[in-house]
Amino acid sequence: MMLECTNRELLIYTISRLLAGARHVAVGMSSPMPAAGAMLRRALNKKQGREDVQVSILGSIRHNSFTGGSEELFECAAQGRIDAFFLGGGQIDGKGNVNLVGAGGYPNSEVRWPGSYGSAYLYFLVPRVILFREEHSPRVLVDQVDFISAPGVSEKGVYRRGGPHALLTSAALFSFQRDVGRFRLESVHPGRSAHEIREMTGFSFDNDGCEVQTPGPDAATLALMRNQIRTELAETYPQFAASLPEAA
């Protein structure tokens, strides 16, 4: 049964689906939607009697069991103890390259973003990196990024056990095909068409006539989101949690 849910709820639910099987999910700072998706995955697994999911939210004290400073996330990833992580980016291109540095020249970029953070490392070492960016436009999803903070694929001779797994926007869900280094449209969110997605995307991708609609949560899951997850989220992201629908 498909329910009415907001676009953000659809995204949170989709993130939780993308995290199926992951046992340790790390979430970067200022990432309320990925955090919500990871918390939902944890709650769903618990309900279904499946494996425990550890969620490490950077910048949080309560939802973060690291004791070795901010360096520990990277060591932990290198040790294979982190299954999934999220990256955004000012630009993402069709080869899975991400740009967190700037647009219009380097080093004197016309538009400068904060910088690469840990992307140039975690993209290589975390098995499942989920690219998450709400804005779906040719400005963000470009044919070729202006600056490669972290490359989508690597040549032989470069140690790489991680990389892009999926790209989720407010309009669609793509998988990343590592063998060919290209995105594949997996589903289109309710209210959008494959044609629109092609128009809104600056790179070419496979399965571009996709007619699958991104599924939303069932009633029980939606209730879980509007009660427990909303409450859990409020500890770290009070403003964001307040912006989500509350259970009736």
Binding site: G68, G69, G102, G115, F124, L125, A150
Partner: protein, 284 residues
Amino acid sequence: MTEGLTADGAANGSWNMTDFVSPETMVQMIPSGIKLGLAPDGAGSCPAMIRLLIERGIRDLHVVCTPIGGMQIDMLIGAGAVAVLETSAISLGETGGAPCFARAIRNGELRMLDGTCPAVFAGLTAAAKGVPFMPIRGIIGSDLLKNRPDWKVTANPFDESEKIVVVSAIQPDISLIHAPEADRFGNVRLGRRREIMLLAHASKKTFVTVERISETSLLDDEKLAAGVLPAMYVSAVAEYRNAAWPTGLYTEYDLDAREVENYARAARSPEGFRAYMTGTRSAA
């Protein structure tokens, strides 16, 4: 003692007992032109000292962020004090982009050494361990590499088929951090902010402002000890309450988000930035 036994091996002067000074004196101990290590906002940042440095007219700094920077770095940039910036990112967190930073980049007013968090840590680790470089996985294929003469792609000596990046040691001349507490012996409580411990180990000297000074040794409490930076790394301590405002201090007080927003709004223009810096003092 004969000459043969006094001529060599004398202490090299890089190491001293901890001095206890005022914030004003500490500022005088930080010269222009050095490599300065700084903490991320909320985990050891010290905007109050940065203001004093700016008022003193500090210039030509090579700033190393551990591994990212926030409002205090943006203020230094806005004041024209930064010649080289080595960091993984600069932002005002929830508030958004760092305005003086973006402007300086656009205008080519500083030399940017863009990095990635674990590479900054690897460089600091190399300095802390006294090795000239550290290997690090990842990075290959990133454009970061093109602009880092201090990074190289080499072969793994135990498997020539693997390419791997090596990064040079990063040794700040001085690191300046704010912490909850020091004791009278110069030991400083950092808790689980281990990246600040690493920064201090890597730096030639570390200056610390603190919220309070304990009369009893922090090392006497075995519960605390693992999170204490020993005095041998601490060149000077100054008591300076609320010196992390408005960026906050881990386990002590939160970010003052409204004030950071005031800053972000003002600093959109050079004039606004200057007005903010002269107009605002501190919450203390």
